[in-house]
Each structure stands twice: as structure tokens, then as C-alpha cells.
Amino acid sequence: MTDAKHIFSENMTKEIDLIRSKFPKDKSKSAIIESLLIIQHDNNGFLNDELIASLANYLSIQKIDVYEVATFYSMFNLKPVGKNTISVCTNVSCMLRNSDDIVSHIEKRLKIKIGESTKDNKFYLKDEMECLAACNGAPMMQVNHINYENLTFEKVDKILDEIAND
């Protein structure tokens, strides 16, 4: 598509081209969000300057345009994080069903504070989690964007054990 400098695999450029084709020809910026999501996924869950510059080059847009998006949306990580992302919703419906205890339980179990990754880099406990639209399953969490609902300590232990042994 373009010969500008980038570090993407052929597969990745194909995927980006597909995303690009969802929008009118002159609207490359529209492809930033979804492209960043797959690029981040492909890079162990975080973005860096090189990847951001690559996407800007590949889409023939300014690096600052990509940075604006990468810094605005909460799902983008600009620093390395643990391999499996745990997001516990702590908004009202979940709070009423003791989501704060679930967070404390995970913190104790993984020996980290919310917002941190474990030493072995297996888990990242994401901070500032808002309502994940599963309020009727409260308390709930997402691990790698898969929902786990009606949580109990036992259930959390089992889920984390399974993922840790994967």
C-alpha cells in the first residue's frame, strides 16, 4: 500500500489494510484505534514509540495523531504490563456486591497493588476499572477481555490458577 518505513509483518499490514478499507479513501485516521488494538495485542499487550511511528508511517499520517489516540483511550498501554490483564469492575453495581473485597483478595494473592504487574510478569491488575456492562453478573472481572461473573474468592482463585498454569 505504501512503502514508508514500518516494522510490521506482512500479516499485520494485511490486517491494517482491511481495517483501512472500512472507511472512505481519504480518512486514514479512522483506522488508528482498531489498528492499535491489534498491534498492541501482537506486542504482548503494550505499545511503544517505534510501533506508533510505524503505524503513522504506514497510514501516511502524523505521529502525533496516533499518540493522541494512544493516550486518550484506557485500553492502550504505553508501558510493558503483565501477560494477562485482570480488570475488576468496581463501579456502583459491583461495589454493592463487594467488588472491593475481590480486588483486595487478588492483590493479596498476587502480592501486588492495583495498577501493578506481578514479578513473574504473568498478571497485570488494571487500575480505574469502570462499569463493564455486566452489572447483573456483579461482582465481575475481565481477564484478557473474557468476562467472569458472580465472583467469589474461590472462583477467582480457580480462574487465576488455570491461567497461571496455562
Partner: protein, 421 residues
């Protein structure tokens, strides 16, 4: 209780096109095409049905469609599947259990407003489930030629395109969503111009909620009178109610507008452990809280909720029992709006910060009576002074919590601890 958007939910393989077709799915779309029903007629049917937007504001859908700039230029439809209003969990179920109703609704809406492209914007956190299901459904509908070029040999071309966000509550606001689709930060635009005149890429655009659009095929199929008669007074039709919080069986229930609150409560087997109902937020965290006893016999419709000083909003009903500390709930709600304010308007940016910090101060036992007055004052200064409705959404909980639970807040600043613990 009444099944429109939820009609496939309990079936086997609810999201597959075969299931939807077995329920007479896509019959509305086929009928519009085969009978060449004029666009204006489709809009009239939706207008007369009384369908109101289910995303929060409750604006007449038919009327909104009629505002579309009809000049001969590119137009867009956008389906708002950003579902992020705390307490709301209905669109996620429609997307994963009845995605074809969303697609059919998007097709009909696109046709009615003359759009050749309909984008469905799903919140980023739906990427592991709903995103996959919805994409598969779109692929199926293309294979059946309900979408795409020369739809069912009619010369009609409409593309339905799934999009994904990356985490930001504010993107649920319609103009912020347009900014986001354009690949920018999700900052709401100043209105006017309204999207129906100048929307996505500057072109006329209609934005509707997922539930709104998924309801459309059922109205076309059964007629506007049928839909209207399901509801009460000016609240026509049905709504999905998301019941969460202190309940024995939290559930999403589709029911006629005007259903008594007590009936919804019964459907959820009552308050958790049969405790006493203390308070209810009936329309997502942005609407005013009411006391349990004031809502018990209230019919759940736009007018009745207005009468008791609150709103139907998104249909996210949050139930709080007698053990709930209202001060900590309000602190949590205020943290949310503070975190999610996009920061463009000074009253919202500064005000949400003040509200949250003041509530933290009170909760940590360092507050006094003057802080309660400050809360009221700041909330009143935000309301009505902002670009988008997030400012109001941050203010309304504060004003209503203080109004209905003043003694509990006073107790907290007096005794430096919660009244309920």
C-alpha cells in the same frame, strides 16, 4: 415478560442467522424491499409507533430520522453500542444473543435516512465476546445478501460495518463517538450543528442506540399501533430494564413501559436476603436517586418517574438495601465522572474534581457541614453550563443524594463515620 429484542435469548444458538430466520427475522427488511415501501413511509411508521431512543435521552426515533438533511450527499447511520453507563447491561446481551435484530434495524434505519453505510461502534471491552459474535453475524447477513451490493436484486447498496473502541465512557456521547470514528480523541462537539445536518466526516448522520435499532424490525413487522399499545400514555412500547445491585436474582428484563417497579423487583426474587429496600437509581448512575418507598408502586415509564423526581435514562436500575452507605456510593459515583470528564469545559473539569475531592474528604472523616453546602453549590454550578450532558450527569446524583439522604451525610460529617456501619 414481553419479547422483542430478547426474543432469541433463550433459543439454541441465539446469535445464528438460522435462528433469527426461524423467528421470521429479516421479514421486515424483505418486505420493505419487495414492496418498495418509500423511505418516508418507514419514517412515519416509526414516528407513529412512539418509539423513543433507549440510549438515555428518550428522544422520538422517527422524529430524529426525519431531521436528516435530505440533500443528495453521502449520509451515515451510526449504531451506538458503547454501553458504558454504570448500571446498564442490555446492549451487550442484544449484541451477543440477537445480533441480527441490530443488523436488520440498522439496515432499515439506513434505508429510511438514505445512508449507504451503517457503522456499529462497540465499546473496546466487548472485544472478547460481542465483537466476535457481531462480526460473524454481519458476515452471515452478507452471505444471504441482506447487506452489500444489489441487496436481494433491488439495486440497493448498504454496507454494515462493525467498529471497535478502546475504552472511554465519554465516547458514548454521540458527537464524541463521531470524533472517535474519525480517529480522534473522544471529545464531544458543540451543537449545533446537529449530526443530522453535519455529522461523521461532516456528512448528515443519525446516531441511535443498539436497543433502539434492534426494536425497529419488530415495529415494521407488527405495525405502529401494536407497538404503541404495548406501553402506557406517552411511554409507548417496551424497554429493557437492567436490574442490578442488592437483588436475589439480578436480571435483564424486557417489559412494557409502565410496568410497576414492584413487579420488576418480584422478577428478581426481591431484595437480597430479604433486607429492606433503601434506595434506587432507576436509569443508570447519571439520573437522580430516589428513596425505596417512593418508587415501590411507581409505574416504570417516562412520566411517572419524572413525577417522583427522576428519569428512566438507560434503564439501568441499581438497587440498594438498608445496609448501603449512601456517602460511599456517592463518592464512588463522583470518582467515575471525575475520571471520565474529557476536560474541555471548565465547570465540568473543575467541578467533577471538586465534588470527588470533597466527598473523599468527608469519607475520610475530615469533612464538616460547610462541605455539604459546597457539594450542593458546585453541583448547581456545573448543571447546564457544559458542552455535553456529562456535566449534568455528574451533578444530578450529588444534588439528589443530598436531598434524600441529608441526615446520613450530616451524621457522617458530625460523627466522622457512616450511619449504617
Amino acid at each position: 415478560m414481553t419479547n422483542l429484542c430478547t426474543s432469541t435469548f433463550s433459543l439454541k444458538n441465539p446469535s445464528s442467522i438460522e435462528t433469527y430466520l426461524s423467528q421470521d427475522g429479516y421479514s421486515s427488511w424483505k418486505q420493505i424491499i419487495s414492496k418498495q415501501i418509500p423511505k418516508s413511509e418507514v419514517i412515519t411508521i416509526i414516528k407513529e409507533s412512539g418509539l423513543k431512543g433507549k440510549g438515555g435521552a428518550g428522544f422520538s426515533t422517527g422524529l430524529k430520522w426525519s431531521f436528516i438533511n435530505s440533500s443528495d450527499q453521502q449520509k451515515y447511520l451510526v449504531c451506538n453500542s458503547d454501553e458504558s453507563e454504570p448500571g446498564t447491561c442490555k446492549d451487550r446481551d442484544i449484541l451477543r444473543y440477537n445480533p441480527h435484530a441490530v443488523i436488520e434495524g440498522m439496515l432499515i434505519a439506513s434505508y429510511a435516512i438514505g445512508a449507504s453505510v451503517g457503522y456499529n461502534y462497540l465499546r473496546g471491552e466487548f472485544i472478547g465476546d460481542q465483537w466476535i459474535v457481531f462480526n460473524k453475524a454481519v458476515k452471515e447477513a452478507y452471505e444471504y445478501n441482506f447487506i452489500g451490493e444489489n441487496i436481494l436484486k433491488s439495486n440497493l447498496c448498504i454496507e454494515i460495518v462493525p467498529l471497535i473502541g478502546a475504552g472511554a465512557y465519554i465516547v458514548g456521547e454521540e458527537t464524541a463517538m463521531l470524533e472517535s470514528i474519525e480517529g480522534k480523541r473522544g471529545m464531544p462537539r458543540i451543537k449545533p450543528p446537529f449530526p443530522a445536518v453535519q455529522g461523521l466526516y461532516g456528512k448528515p448522520t443519525i446516531i441511535n442506540n443498539t436497543e433502539t435499532l434492534a426494536t425497529v424490525p419488530y415495529i415494521i413487522k407488527n405495525g405502529s399501533e401494536w407497538y404503541k399499545n404495548l406501553g402506557v400514555n406517552d411511554s409507548d412500547g417496551v424497554k429493557m430494564f437492567c436490574m442490578s445491585g442488592h437483588l436475589n436474582k439480578p436480571s435483564v428484563i424486557e417489559a412494557p413501559l409502565g410496568v410497576p417497579f414492584s413487579k420488576l423487583l418480584d422478577e428478581c426474587d426481591g431484595v437480597l436476603d430479604n433486607k429492606k429496600l433503601k434506595a434506587v437509581i432507576p436509569g443508570g448512575s447519571s439520573v437522580p436517586v430516589v428513596k425505596g418507598e417512593d418508587i415501590m408502586e411507581t409505574p416504570m415509564d417516562y412520566e411517572s418517574l419524572m413525577k417522583i423526581g427522576t428519569m428512566l435514562g438507560s434503564g439501568g436500575i441499581i438497587i440498594m438495601d438498608e445496609s448501603t452507605c449512601m456517602v460511599s456510593v456517592l463518592e464512588r459515583i463522583s470518582r467515575f465522572y471525575y475520571a471520565e470528564s474529557c476536560g474541555q469545559c471548565t465547570p465540568c473539569r473543575e467541578g467533577t474534581g471538586w465534588l470527588y475531592k470533597t466527598l473523599v474528604k468527608i469519607r475520610s472523616g475530615n469533612g464538616d457541614q460547610s462541605d455539604l453546602d459546597l457539594l450542593n453549590k458546585v453541583a448547581n454550578q456545573i448543571e447546564g453550563h457544559c458542552i455535553c450532558a456529562l456535566g449534568d450527569a455528574a451533578a444530578m446524583p450529588v444534588i439528589s443524594f443530598l436531598k434524600h439522604f441529608w441526615t446520613e451525610f450530616e451524621y457522617y460529617v458530625d460523627k466522622k463515620q457512616s450511619m449504617v456501619i
